[in-house]
């Protein structure tokens, strides 16, 4: 019974040490284990054990100990042997306690023996460092602690009737430089064994407590509120700028727009002239941003000066949102992108492709009027035929903007492209046909009803 308790003790300690190594965010990670056992007497566990990873505070320790010592007639013996090691952590027991099936390597043979032969056991894997155990015991037992060397115990006569608190400072700390931790622990265990033998020789019921003043394994304090570790591309490009914001009358952001590249090209005298407007729009302040938002329409107006030889150049994005009854939700569309240049208009329609549910933003790697056009000239004879508008890594949101970041981006690229779907449909059909054919062939059986291998062969008449 006590053996499996020891086994349970070390397994609990393993779990706790694992959890403790994970939960390092406490600023005060100063905790020591406490093992208490009694040679006779009742159960020391009269309360619920602590939750895994919980550091027992001083008041909780007092509750545990007072219930252990106070509940007569089954209380623990009031002769308390307190083994105080300089430094001890649960991890020491895990490392050196022979818990991985290597019992022979354990440096705590006397401790194990004592626990096995004890009548009850209390294990608190982490007691707060500020809960000074000697003081708590002193307060409970109402007796002054008596510091002893282990050798002096033989000279002392223990009296069962009165409580006693004998404190043994185990001289070897696991942080010391003279001895390897393993050896110092083994030495301490030997001393403990000597003390316990001496007490046993006097046939005195005792309660022993093995704990430490400070932990030997101090885990590094980790910043309790780490920065959000978002993933970022390894090839994070040059400069990432914030999206362009337009505020409504109340000063809240209502339109967000971003593109990594914005170019316009115009066909002038048979040649295509290109202008890159990215820098002006997003980085430097070379553009006048304007816009209006209401419940069903949003408009983003960007006024540039002197582009491609035109004195005035203006880009207008007109978006609208409404309820679509079949899908029972509100969708917004980028209806038109209009270019106004020197009094002329060029209008592109984008309402077919550039659409997203109202609460989300729309993102597309390439929004252009030339390749795979999402922006088409509004009429076949529109001026837009002479213009090419290209956005790379385009993202826009005209409704439902919360804060300065885009909402979830409804991407124009789907998981399966139409080509993949066509291939899947055709392959599935062919597979079905193959399966059907195979099924038929596999259930072909030849007639064997009248087979009689031992009988005579059938006679076929030669004449008609």
């Amino acid at each position: 019974m006590a053996e499996e308790m020891f086994g349970r003790l070390v397994s609990i300690m393993m779990v706790f040490s694992l959890l403790l190594s994970v939960f390092t965010t406490r600023s005060c990670s100063d905790h020591v284990p406490l093992i208490m056992w009694s040679s006779e007497g009742g159960s020391l566990w009269t309360q619920d054990p602590p939750v895994a990873g919980h550091i027992v505070s001083r008041s909780q320790l007092e509750t545990y100990l007072s219930s252990a010592f106070g509940s007569a007639p089954n209380s623990a013996p009031h002769t308390v042997l307190l083994f105080l090691q300089d430094r001890l952590s649960v991890d020491d027991i895990t490392l050196y306690g022979g818990v991985f099936g290597n019992k022979q390597d354990s440096v705590f043979p006397n401790l194990e023996t004592a626990l096995q032969s004890s009548s009850s056991l209390l294990v608190l894997p982490s007691v707060s460092g500020s809960a000074s155990v000697p003081e708590v015991l002193q307060g409970l037992l109402n007796v002054a602690p008596l510091s002893l060397d282990p050798e002096q115990l033989n000279e002392l006569h223990l009296d069962v009737s009165s409580p006693a608190l004998l404190v043994f400072r185990l001289p070897f700390g696991t942080g010391s430089n003279e001895m390897a931790p393993k050896d110092s622990l083994r030495e301490n265990d030997r001393l403990m064994g000597n003390v316990l033998d001496a007490v046993k020789a006097q046939a005195v019921p005792y309660t022993a407590v093995y704990t430490a003043l400070a932990p030997s394994w101090v885990t590094r304090d980790v910043n309790p509120a780490p920065q959000s570790v978002g993933r970022s591309l390894l090839q994070a490009t040059n400069d990432v700028y914030a999206p362009l914001q337009i505020l409504d009358n109340m000063g809240k952001v209502c339109i967000l727009f971003w593109a990594s590249n914005l170019t316009v090209s115009v066909l002038q005298s048979g040649q295509w002239q290109k202008a890159d407007l990215t820098d002006k729009t997003f980085i430097s302040s070379g553009v006048e941003k304007n816009g209006s938002c209401n419940a069903s329409n949003s408009q983003l107006i960007l006024k540039y000066g002197n582009i491609l030889g035109f004195q005035t150049f203006q880009l207008t994005f007109a978006m609208s949102q409404r309820l679509y009854p079949v899908s029972a939700r509100q969708w917004f569309t980028l209806d038109q992108v209009q270019l106004n240049y020197d009094g002329h208009n060029a209008t592109f329609n984008g309402s077919d492709g550039i659409t997203a549910p109202s609460e989300y933003s729309y993102h597309c790697q390439m929004v252009s009027s030339s390749d795979y056009p999402l922006l088409v000239p509004s009429t076949p004879t529109d001026n837009a035929k002479q213009w090419i508008l290209t956005f790379t890594d385009f993202q826009i949101q005209g409704f439902g903007v919360t804060g300065e970041n885009f909402s979830y981006a409804n991407d124009c690229a789907s998981f399966f492209t139409p080509g993949i779907w066509m291939g899947l449909v055709t392959s599935l059909l062919l597979l079905l046909i193959l399966t059907y054919g195979l099924h038929m062939i596999l259930q072909l059986r030849s007639m064997d009803r009248f087979d009689d291998p031992k009988g005579p062969a059938i006679a076929v008449p030669q004449n008609d």
């Binding site: 899908s327 549910p357 056009p373 789907s414 139409p418 059909l429 008609d464």
Partner: protein
Amino acid sequence: MNGQALLYGGVTVAFWSTLLVVGICYTIFDLGFRFDVAWFLTETSPFMWANLGIGLAISLSVVGAAWGIYITGSSIIGGGVKAPRIKTKNLVSIIFCEAVAIYGIIMAIVISNMAENFSGTTPDTIGFKNYQAGYSMFGAGLTVGFSNLFCGICVGIVGSGAALADAQNASLFVKILIVEIFGSAIGLFGVIVAILQTSKVKMGD
């Protein structure tokens, strides 16, 4: 449980569980709007539908014909062992089955002649006429294929019975032929409907 049943069972479970899991994920993440049947129908090329129709027209018809012929043929050959006089007369059942395959190939050629090139890459530029053409050809192919499939099986089984009855009693054959004629009429119905389906097809720009 034998291997075949296990295989079919496994494939079915895999299929339905994939559908279920994907559906649940779409629902949980409020991405149900991305399940867009209209997108699938408009983004897939009308040529896919047209060619699927042509392929199904001929292949399903041939399956029906082959099935019928194998059923009838086995009976004729088997019955002909003991009653050799049936073999010539019962070839008419085989011809009824073969007719089904001929319907199939004729329709496949007719439908494939309607496939023309068009220049358009987006649903807007492709235009509704081309979509209608694609879907009509698919439907016509399906129509003629399935009706010929079942017609062929029907004629085959009836022909098999006819051959064996003829082997027993020669006077039965002529009456059974009436049944076969009714059976092969249904293949013709399929052809007529398919012609009607593709009558308004006009693919191209």
